[in-house]
Symmetry: C2
DNA sequence: CCTTGAGTTGAAGTGCCCTTCAACTCACAG
DNA sequence: CTGTGAGTTGAAGGGCACTTCAACTCAAGG
């Protein structure tokens, strides 16, 4: 009942598996103090960081970008509500864009279904300027899977 | 200028890389005839299949599920507009759900930003019944990245 | 003290969706 | 007929976000 949480406690409270928390730490997304016996002890503030990470993932931001965002927080002091608000607000455009694209896809799909033609190339694929762009080599997951786990 | 397309032509017209098309074929998502020299020749209808695949991915459906959906098409005849409409319509709920979740996330985020508290756990994480659920072992990409490529 | 559940590490595995490579063969314009 | 760009294969690589494993050590209740 102190001011710090074990990894198990943080996992339970955040809904993120311990293995994921360790992974986040390796990536520099969160940090932990250590006990004499080398066990992690998390400050309460880390709970908020983890929450921000999960939110950001739902927005569709990669861990690498989340790390960059978190790096912009002040190191000296505990981040203020305004700090968090600024970070969250920075995802707002991303979120809007994602919603817009999916809504457009829904409309296109409705149009196709409605007219029965389902000329998908015209409706939804052949609009390169609009649709999702991606660059560079290496395999990426190009398109989203909705399933995720907030409680496991 | 015949009735069939080479893999390069299909790639160009669909915006999907040849390597991806071969991959789709391995997974049983598309099929190709072969020339005497063992090269793939795609019927025009395959273009529509590929379009459907890409659309489905945007909706957030896995290739495995897409394969299952495509398997439900009649094998005897070329799928009719109604066949495609049925398949597309079957994703409609998924799409709606995704849009709904993202919209809710946006509202939550606005709320948090608005009040400055950013109590993310209450706002957006601690609603397990609502949020994205996932099951089973093995690493999955839990949350979507919007970037994708429809023209490369 | 001692047991037992929780925590530690690095390395390897998993699932998805492809891409890249090497070492060929094909198809067609000239 | 020949050169060249396009196509073929299986195997391996790659990025992401983790999980799993083995082989330990810690922490705390009885």
């Amino acid at each position: 009942m102190q001011d710090s949480l074990t990894i198990g406690e943080l996992a339970a409270r955040s809904g993120v598996a311990p293995s994921a928390l360790r992974y986040y730490e390796r990536l520099g997304l969160i940090r932990a103090d250590r006990t004499g016996g080398n066990q992690r002890r998390y400050a309460r503030a880390e709970l908020r960081r983890v929450a921000f990470i999960r939110i950001s993932q739902q927005v569709g931001v990669s861990l690498d970008e989340i790390r960059a965002a978190l790096d912009s927080l002040p190191e000296a002091r505990t981040p203020s509500p305004q700090d968090w608000a600024r970070l969250s607000a920075s995802w707002r455009g991303r979120l809007d864009e994602r919603i817009r694209l999916l809504s457009k896809l829904r409309d296109d799909l409705d149009g196709c279904i409605g007219c029965g033609c389902l000329s998908l190339q015209r409706c939804a694929l052949n609009n390169p300027g609009d649709a999702l762009g991606g660059e560079g080599p290496g395999a990426r997951l190009m398109l989203p899977r909705p399933e995720a786990d907030a409680t496991a």
